[in-house]
Structure formats: C-alpha cells, structure tokens
Amino acid sequence: MSVPDRRRVAITGIGPVTPVGIGVDDFWDALVNGRSGAGPITRFAADDFPVKIAAEVKDFDIEKFLEPRRARRHERFSQFAFAAAILALRHAGLEPTDPDPARVGIVIGTGIGGIALYEEEHRAMLQRGPRFVSPELIAMMIPNAAAGSLAIELGFTGPNECTVTACAASGHAIARATDWIRNGAADVVLAGGAEAAITPLSLASFCSARALSRRNDEPTRASRPFDADRDGFVFGEGATVLILEALDTARARGARVLAEILGYGLSADAHHIVAPHPEGAGAAAAMTAALADAGLAASEIGYLNAHATSTPLGDVSEAQAIRKVFGDRPPPSSATKSMTGHLLGAAGSTEIGATVLALGNQLLPPTINYETPDPRIELDVVPNAARAEKFNVALSNSFGFGGHNVSVAVAAA
C-alpha cells in the first residue's frame, strides 16, 4: 500500500559519535575492519561491580564543537547529540544558516536521558542537603533536553520532539522524521538518538538484571551476537544524528544523496517489559510492515542490519523473526553491536547510519566474535570479516525494553 503523492525521503548526512569512532570516516573504518570499541570502564571505579567493561566514547571533547560557556549547560547525552548534529550537517554539506530555520525539524531519542547528572545531584542532596542541588538538574536531565538544546544552539524552529522507547528510541526518531518530511511539516530533519548512561546506578541495575556480558578479561570479545557463547550485551554510549531531507529539495540544492528511506514498520510485542517475544512475533510484524510501507517484496532485501544485542534470548527471537519474514532465504544479517556495544537509545540511528554506509560502499560490515554457531540461529551473519556484496535495499531493526519494535527500509540512492 503506497501513497503515490507523498514526498520521498533522502538521507544526506551521517554524524556518528560512537565507541568505535567519531565522524563517518573513523566509524566506517572500524566497522569494516571489525574493531571493537569495548574496554575496561574508565568513567568511574567499577571494582565492586560484577561487570567492569563497557564501550565508552573515547577522546570526546565537546569544546571542539561548542564554546565552553554554552557546553556546560548540556548534560553529556545532549553534548553527544550536539556533536553528532554538527558532524551530520557537515557531512550533508549544510551550514546551520543555509536552510529556512522554520523548515528544519529535530527529533532526538534517548533511552534514559541525563542520568549521570541525576546521580551526581542526588548524591549532593543526600550528603550535603537539599540546598545544594543544582537549579539546572531537571532542565538538563529530562530526555527531551537534547532535542530542545539543539534547537536553541542551532536556531531551527521546525517540529521538535523526543522519542523515548528505550533501545528503539532512535529507530522511532527516524520514523517520526520520515513522517514529517512525507507530510510536508519539514524539508530537513536532524534525526537520531543520544545516550550517556554508563553510570554506577544504571550499571548496577543492568548487572542485577543479568543483562550484561561478564567477559571482563576479554572486553573486545564480550559482545558476540548470534554466537553460541554469548552471555549478554556490552553497555555502550554515544549518539548518531542523520540528516533527512525531502528528496526534491535535497536535489534542488545539489546535495549528495546517500540513500533513500523507502519505509518503516512499527509494532509492539505485547508480551513482557524486558523479555522478547519467544517467537519474535512483534519483530516480524515490524519487518513485514516496513516492507509493506516501502512497497517491497521480502526477496528484494539484500542486507539486514540486525538489532542483535548479544543476549541469549534476544538474538534467538530476532533470528526466528527474520526466518518468519524471509523464509528459507534470509538476507545476510550482521550485528553492528558486536563492535560498537549497545548504544541503547542511540543504537537505532547508529545502525541505520551503518546500513547507509554499507549500501554506499556495497560492503557488509561483519558480526565479529562469531566462533560457535547456535543451532537455533539459522542465518548468514557475515561472520568476522566484511564482505563485498551487490545489493540495493536493506532493513535495519531496533527493538526496545517495553516491547517496542522498529524496522526501517533504506535503498541505495
């Protein structure tokens, strides 16, 4: 079911701030060479935690992007979003002053928001008293602070929103941005996700939930989606912002079109707040809906960027969903999280960015650390080494706690 007169949606810029690299060149170089961004936790002393590893963003200096007086007003997750937005605008060849500001929208998702500042200020209250809590805490920690701050810093006055659906948040952001362009609410949208939640409190909760890999002695081998010996995800952080534009206005300004968003699909598991549906029914529904929205047959999909977090249950559920949609001939399906770790609310846009780069380079990023097949996962996971592949259309999946599923279909420009 396609609507013939809706506007087409181009992707013209990618701004990654990730544990494997900042900026498209470093990010893509790491992915095609199978480099992991995981290592020992450095942001705080994690000695008392059963998990002592994470995928942190290295060498991040917000002052390369924003003057110090303004930068200090933004929590770390908003700072990631800002840097990612600047990188994406540059990649798209857009100066912030180029477009009509009223025609530029912003949608930045996050799973958790400014929890680092929350923990710091909560400690201040308990140790020193309520008088010593920062007046800026609430304004900086709210999940929508990144989207609002980007508008304040860049002056874009179009639609502005925040999607909060845990690890599907930036998948939903891309879907939202696609709607705005299709229906004419905006010509350009800065869309993506940001997360900076590697803090003692969130780490403790994920540890209690047994969600994280405990392979502390081999951090770069800890995230191993689809491998039989996977034991949980690697906690990551970062942001990726994509520049979405109406294809007609992008072409009119002579933009380099990287890919086109053909459609997306959304669904809910309606099953459990954290456990995936055992047969992947919700995930399959999202992929099927994305194909329908894009007007595609399953056989036209040449690559699938899986959500695949490296948890024992989640990867099996997604593999079953993929088989349900694609039958006996599923497309090659690799897991970017094997290298980046799990960026939670920033995972979806980061992986759609990786998928766009895969399309542009006709090269599939691998699933690293794939050593022992899991008999329940019957997929070509592009094991351990990037692979040249001729393909025109790809899907990228994002699923979140709460049972939210997003699948996005992108095509070569």
Binding site: R69, R128, R131, P135
Partner: protein, 83 residues
Amino acid sequence: MGKQEFYEALRNVLVSRLKVEPEKIKPEADLFEDLGLDSIDLMTAVMAIEEEFGIEVSDKELEGITTVGQAVDLLSGKVGVGA
C-alpha cells in the same frame, strides 16, 4: 577571611564551573552584561561559595546584585569582614 579571598573564590567558580573567560572578570564587571551569566548561573555560583564558606545568602539579598564587586561585598559581609 578578607574580601580578596571571596573575590578569588568567586573568580574560581566563574572560571572553572561556569567557564567564564578569566580576563573578563574584574570587580566592576557586570555579571549579566559583561560575563554573560543568567539568573541560574548566579544561583549556581552563589551556592558553590555558600558551601565553601559555610554561609547562607537569601534570594532577597541577591536582588539588585549586578557586578562582581557587589557580589563579593555581599558574600564577605556574611562573615563579618573587618568586624
């Protein structure tokens, strides 16, 4: 504790916490016009000084404070400088 000590403490908070350029800070500098602070910045700075020196400043006392020098006078007055 002399005024100089409060001046240095305020200067330190403005530079390290609020990222004000050090060369802009002078007794006659206007906190809002010259240093670019807003009311939340001023609260943040005053809270840090309150904590460092164990003093308390009311919102009412802060009203009308516009320069670095006035802020130092207010803060140092809290511990009876020269008394």
